[in-house]
Subunit: 242 residues, 2 copies
């Protein structure tokens, strides 16, 4: 139950998702949270089995207010989620190292999003096949239609999990150095190192037949480009701005 | 209780940390797990409060078989961990995007490590101060001694958490494209994009007095260099190979 007024464009704010520490960094509007999620390929998912927490990295994607991920039907995580498991899915982008004049003011700039909900298996075979195509297209626009179609066996071996975002929060630090006023005059080297995740030059499979063109959906995958920008662009190409 | 024979250089393998899916990717020896941990600045920590899992990103570091992280004494996560909380701390490095000829064989190359243990607050003030200096030095060798010393108030406002690694596993995929044999002849573009996290050119604080030199501990922080390599190097400079 939300405990503050909710705008239709914001996630409800409750005890679970309220950003408590440095709350001025908190973001609850859908656009801000989605921009953090859609710029990522990999998330970390926290879930509990028999009282033991696990933190599993996995590729994921968003469609509207649902998050999806997939994996082997044999995996521990996905089997546990079959029954409808509470999870927290978190995405983090590290944007810079902040070297201040005191240990206390050392920091990093970052963008992160935490999403809460109940993970459920997508049982319907057609819905599962559609979701897996959406996953490929979300990362690589138009690619699902270019691939060798999935076999029945492959679909059977794959589990797709869907989670409606019940609550979410984003947290952003982008201020660089913030030292105590009295410390600025000290003869201490203070600096900020930007951090980016970038792709390198594509390495085409040497076993490709001659003359297979690079598909248009990969036009944005140019060497040195930021992965978060590519991922956000791919998401918007495939799903639009929604 | 370990359920397989344990070498002194390996973490015990139990139901909790055994790599079940694609078990040939699993690594349990300390050197392999530590190399994944020590190449990272940020981890994700799963923990449970009142049955609800949370997944929180944070900077962390390793000394021997202990992991440490810190935060505000007011944070929800750190207050819950005061009582000795089971956690799973996970580190993930994304190394490449693997675009195969079928959706099923799409993948990523990665290195990840999951560590299990019980998080406890470092209560002793001297131990806490020492840990916070170690944190700075672990990322930026020699830097703690160059900084304005921490105040009593800053130490009070900061909580340090320690966790002995009870069990851990690494998981590594580094094979690039692995298509079904029959699919290699298909006229489908298959490629691998390397992914790296790199630092950019340092942005010195404009408020530094003239003539403050770049400290020798930052000599490895050169533009375009991989952050995982810098972090591993910093760790070894500060703590040695152990």
């Amino acid at each position: 139950m939300p405990d503050v007024a909710v705008s239709p464009d914001a996630y409800p704010v409750t005890a679970r998702n309220r950003v408590k520490r440095l709350h001025e960094r908190g973001r609850y509007d859908r656009a801000a949270v989605h921009a953090i999620l859609d710029a990522a390929m990999v998330c970390h998912i926290a879930y509990v089995i028999d009282g033991q927490p696990y933190c599993t990295p996995t590729a994921f994607w968003r469609e509207g207010d649902h998050l999806y991920w997939h994996g082997s039907s044999a995996s521990r995580m996905l089997r546990a989620q079959k029954e409808g498991l509470p999870v927290c899915l978190t995405v983090t982008h590290l944007d810079s190292l902040v070297l201040a004049r005191s240990g206390f003011n050392h920091s990093v700039d970052y963008r992160s999003a935490m999403c809460f909900g109940t993970a459920r298996v997508v049982e319907d075979v057609a819905a599962k096949a559609r979701a897996l195509d959406a996953m490929i297209d979300r990362f690589y626009p138009g690619r699902a239609a270019e691939l060798r179609p999935s076999t029945e066996q492959e679909l059977k071996a794959t589990t797709v999990i869907a989670m409606e975002i019940e609550e979410a929060s984003g947290k952003v630090r982008a201020k660089g150095i913030g030292d105590d006023e009295a410390d600025y005059a000290l003869p201490i080297h203070a600096t900020r190192f930007p951090v980016t995740q970038v792709i390198g030059t594509g390495e085409p499979c040497p076993r490709m037949p001659a003359g297979v063109p690079v598909p248009p959906g990969l036009a944005g995958f140019t060497p040195g480009r930021r992965l978060d920008e590519i991922m956000l662009e791919s998401h918007r190409t495939t799903f639009g701005e929604g």
